[in-house]
């Protein structure tokens, strides 16, 4: 088992079940001792490939997917839906899956519903704008806020 096996297992489970696998689930699926899977989770978190709930090994983020509900919903053409960590990650889910999809979110100022539509690899024109509050070099100071 490599850390990449664990990373891919987490992503594939999030895509298939909209839930992140526990360390025990991953160990069983990959046929490895739970201690090995736990160590892989720790290494992936330390290298910022996944984000764990503080003080646990529960996956919070496996970019571009969120393991918990967010205001950034991805609705794929095949009927599946997913959560992105932010609107960028939500578009990233569509890019990662390589299929048509919509991102449904809201204007953070007025709560108006906003939809970004991707068809055939192209983003449909929109009047919306993106705001990034934190400079790139500081994203990991508080990745949940970013």
């Amino acid at each position: 088992m490599t850390d990449d096996d664990v990373r891919l297992h987490i992503l594939r489970e999030l895509i298939a079940r909209s839930a992140a696998p526990s360390v025990g689930d991953t160990a069983s699926a990959l046929g490895v001792p739970e201690t090995d899977a736990a160590a892989a989770y720790d290494r992936l978190a330390a290298s910022r490939v996944i984000v764990l709930e503080p003080g646990t090994r529960d996956v919070l983020m496996a970019a571009p997917l969120s393991a918990v509900p967010t205001p950034h919903i991805v609705r794929m053409a095949d009927g599946r839906s997913h959560y992105g960590n932010c609107v960028w990650d939500a578009l990233g889910v569509i890019a990662m899956l390589g299929r048509d999809g919509d991102v449904e979110t809201v204007c953070m100022d007025c709560d108006a519903r906003l939809t970004l539509t991707v068809r055939g690899g192209a983003l449909a024109p929109t009047d919306a704008v993106v705001h990034f509050a934190v400079p790139a070099a500081r994203w990991w100071e508080n990745i949940v806020f970013t």
């Binding site: 990650d89 009047d127 919306a128 704008v129 934190v134 400079p135 070099a137």
Partner: protein, 74 residues
């Protein structure tokens, strides 16, 4: 990173919360970055970009300058 109806909504949102305005760009630029950033995540052997690679991805979408710099300050 959040989506707003317009720059006016960004201005109002920042003002109400006492937050400094960050940077504003288009969803098209974000889509360009998202494709490079996330498009290969399901490939075996994927790895995170180095800071220089990441800055190159930002630049490919026209996102340049101090806000997008990943180099440590001098």
């Amino acid at each position: 990173m959040l989506l707003f109806r317009s720059e006016e909504h960004v201005r109002r949102w920042c003002e109400l919360r006492g937050l400094p305005r960050g940077t504003v760009f288009t969803p098209e630029q974000m889509w360009t970055v998202a494709k490079s950033w996330h498009g290969r995540r399901l490939e075996r052997g994927w790895r995170r970009f180095t800071p220089a690679e990441a800055e190159g991805v930002f630049a490919s979408a026209g996102l340049t300058g101090a806000f997008w710099s990943l180099q440590p300050p001098m």
